[in-house]
């Protein structure tokens, strides 16, 4: 099945006008790589709960992570084109997309807030794939309520000692660099912690409902010593940075969900045109047609919202609310579309992992990278005022 189709070309034309042809060429080529080297292994990644590293490597080589950055090896492509690329990766294999999406959230943080030497030494390694990153924010007792975190960073001379536990950390155990947020004397601060730093350890893989190909585990730091030059930006300003990094990441997670929904939708559509019952094709039944129309409208509105938020981000205006809206719509739509796909497949949908894995993958993203409830608080606070 072709990943890049007319609908993508039309979306690029609608959002990028004259420039769309060059972007279409890029994404069509990326889709060729995904079709040949990622999508065929996706069901196996789910069944084996891992094994995405070679797919991830191939996408690093293709230049996926370089797309949205405009220096230090970046390709200076619009964020919307990158988000559409992440949709294609999500359609090929959601855990690979998730792993790379989180990795690039860290790259974005280093790019925007890191020192020049961090950009040269860390950022350039991240976008080339020489090093893999992990975003370590959530703790066992502080998820959505991130300010309640208990991990501490204590300054001792020319270094910081970090102590605390982070959980549900994507890429844990594989990452070379951990972007760790901890409480310091001045508030909350962000650090780049080397994966081999003494005092840093990674727990066992956490079994998950979906996104099984990517690794998730606890990251524990016990007096982990980090040189002061590994502080990202200014001491005490990490929440400001994280908030901004997560806004971009929310568009990406929304786009990944568009891809997941599209993968399930295409399978369901194909099945509906083949399956016969009551001497009719499933696709000729009115209830199927209504369902197909709802699925298609949901996918298109989700993609449009992700591209709309991306376009606002590209202008430099505040896009936090639109990014939150895009993620709410895209992630909740994906869960619904994948659920409808299972329903269309009937018993085969419930028993065939290649159908229900899309629903299991999508289900994470109304929780991770900003739960729908938190995102609604953000949108409401923009509309009504008051704390998010």
């Amino acid at each position: 099945m072709k990943l890049f189709q007319t609908e993508h070309r039309r979306a690029l034309r609608a959002f990028y006008g004259e420039g769309h042809a060059a972007f279409s060429t890029l994404l069509e080529s990326l889709a060729g790589t995904l079709e040949a080297e990622v999508a065929p292994s996706s069901a196996r990644f789910d069944a084996d709960s891992g094994g995405i590293s070679s797919a991830r490597r191939r996408l690093f080589e293709a230049g996926l992570c370089r797309m949205p950055f405009d220096s230090h090896g970046g390709l200076s492509l619009p964020f919307g084109v990158y988000s559409l690329a992440m949709e294609l990766v999500g359609a090929a294999d959601a855990p690979t997309a998730m792993s790379l999406g989180i990795h690039n959230t860290v790259a974005d943080g280093v790019f925007r807030y890191g020192s020049e030497s961090q950009k040269k030494e860390v950022f350039e390694d991240l976008v080339s794939g020489k090093r893999l990153a992990s975003f370590s924010l959530t703790e066992p007792s502080s998820g959505s309520d991130a300010r309640a975190m208990s991990t501490t960073a204590t300054k001792t001379g020319s270094s910081y000692r970090i102590t605390g536990t982070k959980t549900f950390i994507t890429n844990a155990g594989e990452a070379d660099v951990y972007f760790v947020v901890a409480r310091s004397e001045k508030g909350h601060s962000a650090f780049l912690v080397d994966g081999s730093a003494p005092g840093l350890s990674v727990g066992a893989d956490i079994p998950k409902l979906g996104m099984r190909g990517s690794r998730t585990a606890e990251v524990r730091m016990d007096g982990c010593s980090v040189p002061a030059e590994n502080l990202v930006g200014e001491d005490g300003r990490a929440f400001e940075y994280v908030k901004s990094m997560l806004s971009g990441s929310r568009i990406v997670m929304g786009s990944i969900c568009v891809g997941i929904a599209l993968a399930a939708y295409r399978k369901a559509l194909h099945y509906a045109t083949e399956r016969k019952l009551f001497e009719k094709k499933l696709s000729d039944m009115q209830m199927t047609r209504e369902r197909v129309a709802d699925m298609r409208a949901g996918i298109n509105s989700s993609r449009s919202m992700c591209l709309y938020a991306s376009r606002i981000k590209e202008t430099g205006e505040d896009y936090g609310s639109e990014a939150a809206q895009a993620k709410i719509i895209a992630t909740e739509t994906a869960s619904r579309v994948c659920d409808q796909a299972i329903q269309l497949f009937g018993g085969y949908g419930y028993t065939n992992a290649d159908v229900h894995r899309h629903w299991r993958d999508a289900r994470l993203l109304t929780i991770g990278e900003g739960a729908s409830e938190v995102l609604r608080l953000i949108v409401a606070s923009m509309e009504l005022g008051g704390a998010a």
């Binding site: 060429t25 040949a36 797309m67």
Partner: protein
């Protein structure tokens, strides 16, 4: 080494659908570089990588064919030559105009192309091109080795393999087994836009030697294959035996 590779901007056969009368819906069909042409481009780049030199990719077709040329440039070809033709040409005319374009852009030590186009698969342009150029033709290569002024190929034929050798220059057609084509990186695609692309028209290449009559493709209808649709009913022990007997009868076991 001066290498040329001829490619076709073909209908994407994987996405082609037939209408209710069994005719492929060519109107609005997606197009791409022919599947086997990607192998020819890959082989050209590999020859350049191991022997030095440069690769010129040539494509005869409409405005859309520049997309295929850009893809070949992104894969690693050095320059492109678009031979613009407003109408579809048959194999004789295509090979003639390609030969004229190659003579103008050359000389070339090796001219590579696919065993056939992935949409029409006539397989005629390669040998005809060699004839127009007056060069030896080595067809269906699954292995190409250049050694100094000589080239040696191994051809996969239906029931046997044959090896051929000749002195360069030569025209070589490759099969899909010859290699696995590379996918260009996003950076290579962006850089390809800066590589040189020349354009000539078939009109500018026409002379008194040009073929005067062509073959026109008439109706294209998908051949349907009737399945036997044998259904065995009864207990598993009985139906499995019947299935084995039926497969034996068909010579499949």
């Amino acid at each position: 080494m001066n290498i040329a590779v001829c490619v076709k901007h073909a209908v994407d056969e994987g996405e082609l659908r037939a209408d209710t009368s069994g005719r492929p819906q060519l109107q609005g069909a997606l197009s791409k570089m022919g599947s086997f042409d990607r192998n020819a481009v890959e082989e050209a780049i590999r020859l350049k990588e191991s022997n030095g030199g440069s690769v010129t990719v040539v494509c005869l077709g409409g405005a859309d064919s520049k997309k295929t040329l850009k893809e070949a440039l992104a894969m690693g070809c050095d320059k492109a030559l678009a031979v613009a033709s407003a109408r579809a040409l048959d194999a004789l005319a295509t090979s003639y105009y390609l030969s004229r374009a190659l003579k103008k852009a050359g000389p070339f030590d090796v001219v590579l192309l696919a065993e056939g186009a992935s949409d029409t698969y006539h397989g005629l342009v390669g040998p005809m091109l060699a004839r127009w150029l007056g060069l030896p033709f080595l067809g269906f290569a699954r292995k190409v080795e250049v050694n100094g002024s000589k080239v040696r190929t191994e051809a996969a034929l239906e029931d046997r393999a044959e090896s051929y050798e000749t002195v360069l220059p030569a025209v070589i057609s490759v099969v899909s087994e010859v290699n696995t084509p590379r996918y260009p990186t996003l950076l290579q695609i962006m850089q390809a836009a800066k590589k040189p692309m020349e354009e000539v028209t078939v009109e500018s290449l026409t002379d008194e030697g040009a073929p005067k009559f062509g073959v026109t493709v008439g109706d294209v209808v998908v051949q349907s294959v009737d399945r036997k649709k044998l259904v065995f009913e009864g207990p598993a022990e009985e139906t499995s035996r019947k299935l084995i007997d039926a497969l034996r009868k068909e010579g499949l076991l």
